[in-house]
Symmetry: C2
Subunit: 307 residues, 2 copies
């Protein structure tokens, strides 16, 4: 593992949109700065939560350029660079690497289903060869509920053995902690991130690297605090607290729910906007969500900065 | 229905690749010409069978330009223009329309799962509005096994009622003929294409528009002949014959199997090449496939030109 590798809380930053559905760059920069101030260790921009797969290749490149130009440190950014197409995935990965990003979070190609480990290995291998840059750090992205393409232990093993200095991590958004513990046991040298803070403390106790989690967009300080204090007596109680907040949010469609919380916090209805095929929550549903979070005493403003 | 609408056999033309995995434009042009000579009514380039979702947006635009420049008539081309991203789908659809293509075969956005009909309607609606061209003809593409996103009767109904001169057809690759007959009954004004010639004759008898089928790449004349003679006594026998050929091919991974037949026909191993995550068939598997087709007396050369 490299000492400069990202660990801790990585946030798949939400992408705000303008009325014409172009990314709202200024609002995104502001949000990314706030996340870092609140204790996020890194920004996994262009993740599932970022609606990145609803953005075109050119849009992702322009937006990453804008974030870096605005002063967000590239070495704190781990953009998602996976698409269905080898050429686009290679282009995005090369761009992120050239711009000095900490790594690239790489979905498997996800249109064709029932593909072989051999075919997936070949895809990742081509992306790595086409990037052709020793600085490249790849984090594999396992999210079968969306991608429909699971990453097996055999595939990860082959990739890690073939590209030991390049394939350095994995995000496990499979939702099955048993799979995460298997990966932690099989690959002690990999930085493995559960895709939810619900598994954060257990993950850390098993050697996990932190978490990459959607709800990090609204509760970064709470999650980061647990990472700071996970070996202390208060840890279990902190885990219960952050998991409870997540449980409320995830009973709603995750992305529009998070944008509801953002819009409420900033008193800025522009934050509600999502790209089709996603839809905003109805007002009554938004009120219900905010009410439930209020009952827990949760608000973005009240979560405070991390130590 | 417009008189200039494509009907009959539409072939999702295979995309051959160069050793560096770029599209082999010359070989593709040659293949498209052969398909039209053999009786294909149209070319549904950039379909699932074309490995289009393994191509980037720029690659699809360049390749469509090259096909049209080479003299393939644009009004015989119905490119696939669906991607995960609204902006890319709109860009590809606008380009195809501006270049005079007969229509666009449009997948739903397929990364996010469990999305609402409302969200899918909004996606298609945005693509139509952004294309902003009265010439646009959209064919909806239902292929849930790959896309993970089904098109419901309610969604189709709303699209057809809102855009009656634009949303004019549908390809049903669901593999369930019951669904096709439901659609034919509900939408008698739509051009509905089963995604397999196994349902061709039954489809035509229920008012179907023909078929858009992968195996049209290798058996266009056989399939076209049935379309010419479907009301004659020989039709059932012809249906059995084309279905039997398909049954053999589809016991293998479809795309590499079709490329195996192409490579054999042209004695050109370059045709075997696929883009990751797909993989070529092993030589022994290729031999087995070709042997089984030989036993049926099938070869591309022997299928003859249609009337």
């Amino acid at each position: 593992m490299n000492s400069d590798e990202l660990r801790g809380l990585l946030v798949p930053a939400l992408t705000p949109f303008l009325p014409d559905l172009r990314p709202a760059t200024d609002a995104m920069v502001k949000h990314c700065r706030w996340l870092l101030q609140q204790g996020a260790n890194g920004l996994a921009v262009f993740g599932t939560t970022s609606e990145a797969n609803s953005l075109g290749c050119d849009e992702r490149i322009e937006l990453l350029e804008a974030l870096i130009e605005s002063g967000i440190p590239a070495d704190r950014i781990m953009p998602g660079t996976g698409t269905c197409a080898l050429t686009d995935s290679a282009r995005l990965t090369r761009h992120a690497t050239e711009r000095g990003c900490a790594g690239a979070l790489l979905l498997p190609p996800f249109y064709y289903k029932g593909v072989s480990d051999e075919g997936l290995f070949s895809f990742y291998s081509e992306v790595i060869e086409r990037t052709g840059d020793a600085r490249l750090r790849i984090y594999l992205y396992h999210i079968p509920a969306m991608s429909g393409v699971a990453l097996t232990v055999n595939l990860v093993d082959r990739l890690v053995k073939t590209y030991p200095t390049t394939v350095v991590g994995l995000k496990d958004s499979g939702g099955d902690f048993q799979n995460t513990t298997t990966l932690l046991k099989e690959f002690p040298g990999l930085s493995i991130f559960p895709g939810s803070e619900s598994f954060l403390l257990e993950g850390l106790r098993h050697g996990g690297a932190g978490c990459i989690t959607a709800t990090g967009n609204v509760n970064p300080a709470g999650i980061r605090s647990l990472i700071e204090h996970w070996q202390e007596p208060c840890a279990d109680e902190m885990q219960v607290r952050i998991a409870r907040i997540r449980e409320v949010i995830q009973t709603y469609p995750m992305i529009p729910a998070l944008k509801t919380i953002m819009a409420d916090h900033h008193r800025e209805p522009d934050w509600l906007r999502v790209r089709p095929p996603l839809m905003e929550l109805d007002e009554s549903v938004r009120d219900k969500l905010l009410g439930e979070l209020g009952e827990l005493g949760f608000s973005m403003a009240g979560s405070g900065a991390a130590a």
